[in-house]
Structure formats: C-alpha cells, structure tokens
Amino acid sequence: MPSREGTYGLLAEFDNPSDLVRAATQARQDGWRRLDCYTPYPVEEAAEAIGFHRNRVPLITLIGGLMGLAAMFSMETWISVIAYPVNIGGRPLYSWPAFVVPAYEWTILWAGLSAAFGMLALNGLPQLYHPLFNAPNFRDGATTDKFFLCLEALDPKFDLVESRRYLETLSPTSVVEVDY
C-alpha cells in the first residue's frame, strides 16, 4: 500500500488540449509511467499519449450479456417445462421461439448494467475524496475549461524539485504541488 501522506504529485495546468497532449507525449517519452491527464471532456489523444490504449469494459459487457441471456432462457425453460407446465393451445412445453423475446431483453439489460457499473468499478468510482481536489486550481478548471497533467509521486523518477523543473520545460500555465 502506498503511503497516504506527503506529496501525491505535481499538477501542471494547460490552457488548451493541444498543449496537454504535447506535454503528455513528451513526459511518456521521457520515461514517466505514473502519470495521468485530467480534462473537462474526453480527449482521446491524451489517453493515447500516456499509453492507455484499451480497456476491459467491452469484455465485462459481453460476459454480462451472455449471463443475462443464459439466466432468462434457462428460467423460462425451467418454469414452462418443469415448474409450471401449462397447455397453451396445444403448443409444446418447450416452445423456445416464444422464449427468445424475454431472453433478448435480458441480454440487453444485463449487458447494459454491466457496461455502466463495470465502467464505474474499473474507474474506482465512487470515490468522493481524492487528493487532487486539494489542488487550488483543480476544481476551478478540470471540469470546466482547463487541462491538467499530473506526475505522481509514486513514479520512481519523481523528485519534488527536479520534477517541477522538468514540468516547467513543458510550458504549462502553472505547476502546483498536491498533498494527500
């Protein structure tokens, strides 16, 4: 477990997404691995720049969908054939074409819930407290119009003085230190 006191990292602020992407690409090239960008809307290029290419949301969704399909179809079959067999107009008990519709709906239901809650779980949300909210300029801009690059103290290259100097070479509008 990382220590929960001291410095969380250094936060550089940028005015526009292009500068952020350029800075993040540079930092990644220079060997930084524990870094993240914060933007007011999805900036795909920034994710690419910090080496975040794929995620597991689609896989979770697929598994959820298949589970929903299996759950509903087997429940329908069990109810109609074993638990409560009723003769409806002489149709066979295992009248699978009629079972397709609810099974289809549950595939979508479970897949959708898995996509939404899987995404939140992978993101570690809800997380109402985060050290970044301590930064004086973060809440002012990160959800409005500013773009941030954070070098985290957990990176082996991190050094409070050296890293600050390094960040300043990337021409941000400001660099601030963020505490836990």
């Binding site: 526009n16 997404p17 292009s18 500068d19 992407v21 350029r22 993240d36 960008c37 914060y38 933007t39 007011p40 809307y41 999805p42 900036v43 795909e44 290029e45 920034a46 994710a47 910090i50 975040f52 995620n55 949301v57 689609p58 969704t61 969908g65 509903m72 109810i79 109609s80 638990a83 409560y84 009723v86 409806i88 149709r91 009629a98 519709v101 609810p102 289809y104 709906e105 549950w106 979508i108 897949a111 959708g112 819930l113 996509a115 939404a116 995404m119 939140l120 993101n123 949300l125 109402l128 985060h130 970044l132 909210f133 973060f138 809440r139 002012d140 990160a142 959800t143 409005t144 119009d145």
Partner: protein, 471 residues
C-alpha cells in the same frame, strides 16, 4: 446533410473547417459551461418556471385524484366494457412509450452515426424518454384491475407456486418495458456524471456542493476514466438501439398476435416503431422550442437542430403513411370479408371522424409542408406541427384500439365506446405528471450535456505540433 444546401458565406458553416456549425459562433468551453450551469445553480427560480410548475402540478394532482378513485371503485369508472375492453389506458400507454422512443433514437442511434448535432438535444430528449416511460408504465399497472397484485407479472417464487406464462406477448411486454426503463435511466445517469462534477465544482452553496458531489460519484475527469466512460457510452448506445426497436415491436405484438381484424397484421412492428419516432420527435420539438427561447439557448439548440428534426419527421411520417396505405391495401387484397368491413367501418363507420383526424394531422398537414426549408426553420410553424403530429399519433392509437374492437365478427356483439371523465382526467393527469417531472429536471439537472458540447467546439480540435507552438 445534403451538400446542395451549402451556400458561400453561410453563417451556419464554420469557415475554418468547412463543416456545419453545431454550436453558435463564439462559444468557448467556459461560456458553454457557464450558460448551462447558471440555469441550475442560480438561487433564483424564474417566475415563469414557478407558474408552469403550478399548472403542471395541478395536472399531476388530477392524476392522483383519478387514480385514487380508480383504486377505490375499480376499472368500471372507465368506459371500457365489452367489446371495447381496451380503452384509454392502452391508447395512452402506447402513445407515451412511443414518445419516449425519439429520446433513445437521439441519444443512442444518432450517437452511433456520429451525428454531433444531437449533442445539444440528447440530454433532454433522454429525460423526455424517462418521464414518458414513467407515464406509460403506469397504465398497464392501473389497468390490471387489481394493481396490488401487480407483482404477479414477475417470475417470483411465491407460495402459490404459480409462474408467469412466457408464451404471451403481454409478458414479453413486461420485460421489454422494464428493460427499456432501466437502461434509459442508467444511460441518462451515466451521461450526467461528468456534468454533476462540473456542478459540484461550480456550486456556491455547501448543500449543492454535497448534493452534486455525491451524485457525481467523485468524478474528476481522468483521461483513463474518460476512455472507459466513452467505451461504456458507446456500448450502451449500441445496446439501446436494438432495445428501442424491440420495445415498440413487442408492444405491436400485443395487437398483432391477436386474431382480430385490424390488429392481426405483419406491418405492425415497423409501423409502430416509425410512428413512435415520428411522435417522439414531435414531442422533442414541443419541448425544445419553448425551452431554448425561455433559457436563451439559441446558440446550442440552433435552427439547424429544428430543421434536422423536421427532416426526421418527414422521413418517419412517410413510413407511417406507408403503414396506413398497406392496411388499406391488405383490407382489399386479403379478400377477407372481416378485414374489408373493419376498414370500411374504421373510415366511414360511426367513429370514422377519428380516422380522418388521424389522416389529416399525421399525413396531410405535416407531409405536405415539411418539405419546405422555410417552414422547417420557422419556430412557430414547427411548434404547431409538433402539436398536430402528437395529436395525430394519439388518434392513431385510438383508431387502432377502439375502431378495431367496437364492431367485430358478430353484429349482435357490437358496441360503442365513449370515454368517461375519469378517462380524460387520467390522461390529462399524465400530461401534468410529465410536465412536472420535466420542469424539475430543467431546474435541478444539466439539461444540455456540457461535456459533449465542449467536445464539439472548434477549440477542442487537437492541433498538430507546429501549429500548436504558433499560438
């Protein structure tokens, strides 16, 4: 969009990219954020809002009264009887669900097609969906006669050892509508999380900071989060698309699977879905036109949005027209005496007036005039058309339900249908409930997705290295 419409010097076109402008000129990340969050975060509630809320709340109260009386007396207070056993409740159910469909179409299908113009209207279209589904979902429940036994609809392990019957379209409906409601709410909520983050950061009052902070789940805009978020949104859109098509299809099965002339037809699923989108876009216009005026959102909900919605209505209107045509054609071509009589009776019988109201307001008025770009961009005309189409679509359901039922195979069992005041009160009540919920949404939740608007601003374009250094 058709390239033929592009003119030189058109203010609707961004000179830098040559593309259609979705958001008005001169908007920045900050101005957009401020404009939208001010609507919610201001401590002053506009007087107009309060007045409307009063009227809508009165409407919702009418619903409360009507439903209370219904629970005390039973469905006998409605006009339903033999042979018209399905009356206003089912008409309203289908009408409301249909209205909801345009919201999903805008938020999901147009997202998949990368129609960025949808971004400004997607949030309140989704809200419209959810509130419409709330109104719709109520009707089957209160229509069952003994609503306290509503849980019998669900496969629950009860001591009675009785289970639902999965071969019935009515049970399919339970799963279609409940899935639709759940997925719509999830999609809507997930979409609002980043905007709640913005509200949390911009709110002045402690209460609002806590309130929106909790609902934002601590969103902080990490790009890793954003990427997963984008994937999940796309997946939800991809799931909602087949879902929305299936919901009205399943609802049409409620009718089409029966053997009744006028219901027993294969055109119903596509014709119901197209009609749903038709009426839904009309409802989006009914809501959007006053909203943009009242809250000065002209730069985000532009004339182009209104124009595009008019085009969608034109297209879906023609699919609906095809459906009506096919019904008439099949009445003749089937060579079935009952089909032919049903159609004759529908158009020229004692309730023929309802059929002609439907033809006038769904086909004649909109489909002759929506061709004109001038009319499509005229706000007052589009508002008028939206009301006309919503009326027409309500009458379509009335015609399908009532005129198919009241004169069936045996003349000795013919009857008629005349709605009671309780029917009208329930219907007007749902309009009140819908408006009440919508007004609360406009006041307390972000009605335009700020993060999606930021995404389509010109300043969101990543410039290549050399150009970025220049400015």
């Amino acid at each position: 969009m058709a390239t033929g419409e592009i003119r030189k010097g058109d203010p609707g076109i961004d000179p830098a990219t040559g593309e259609f402008r979705v958001v008005g000129q001169g908007e920045t990340f900050k101005s957009v954020t401020e404009k939208i969050s001010r609507i919610v975060l201001t401590p002053h509630t506009p007087l107009g809002w309060l007045a409307l809320f009063g009227i809508a709340g009165a409407g919702a109260t009418v619903l409360l009264v009507a439903v209370t009386w219904l629970f005390l007396k039973g469905v006998g207070i409605w006009a339903i009887t033999q042979p018209v056993a399905w009356g206003f409740a089912i008409i309203n159910f289908v009408w409301w669900i249909g209205i909801g469909h345009a919201g999903t179409l805008i938020s999901a299908i147009l997202l998949l097609f990368k129609q960025t113009w949808r971004n400004s209207i997607s949030r309140f279209a989704e809200a419209m969906t959810i509130f419409a589904v709330v109104c719709a979902g109520m009707f089957p429940l209160i229509h069952v006669g003994r609503p306290w036994l509503g849980y019998w609809l669900f496969p629950l392990p009860l001591t009675m050892n009785v289970w639902p019957q999965y071969r019935s379209p009515l049970l399919w409906d339970v799963f279609a509508v409940s899935t639709y409601a759940t997925i719509s709410v999830v999609f809507w909520y997930i979409g609002m999380i980043p905007d709640f983050g913005t509200f949390r950061d911009r709110a002045d009052s402690k209460f609002a900071q806590y309130f929106y902070g909790i609902f934002s789940w601590g969103w902080r805009g990490s790009v890793r989060h954003w990427m997963r978020y984008e994937t999940a949104s796309l997946l939800l859109a991809g799931l909602a698309t087949p879902l929305v098509l299936s919901v009205h299809t399943v609802i049409s099965f409620d009718f089409a699977v029966a053997v009744l002339p006028g219901w027993h037809t294969t055109i119903f699923p596509p014709y119901f879905v197209a009609g749903a989108i038709y009426s839904g876009f009309a409802m989006v216009l009914t809501l959007a036109i006053p909203l943009r005026k009242f809250y000065h959102l002209e730069s985000m909900v532009t004339e182009r949005h209104i124009d595009n919605m008019g085009k969608v209505m034109l297209a879906t209107g023609f699919i609906v027209a095809y459906g009506y045509g096919m019904e008439a054609f099949m009445a003749w071509y089937s060579a079935s005496h009952w089909e032919a009589f049903m159609f004759w009776n529908r158009a020229f019988g004692p309730m023929g007036w309802s059929y002609w109201v439907l033809i006038a307001s769904n086909l004649v008025i909109p489909l002759t005039t929506l061709w004109s770009r001038k009319l499509r961009t005229s706000l007052s005309y589009m508002f008028f058309i939206s009301i006309v189409v919503n009326t027409g679509m309500w009458f379509e359901r009335f015609v399908i339900v009532v005129t198919s039922l009241y004169r069936d195979f045996l003349p000795s069992s013919w009857g008629t249908y005349r709605a009671t005041k309780w029917d009208y009160m329930t219907f007007i009540g749902t309009l009140g409930l819908f408006t009440t919920l919508f007004l609360l949404f406009v006041r307390f939740l972000p009605m335009i997705p700020m993060n999606e608007i930021r995404m389509i601003l010109p300043s969101a374009k990543i410039k290549p290295k050399a150009a970025a250094g220049a400015d």
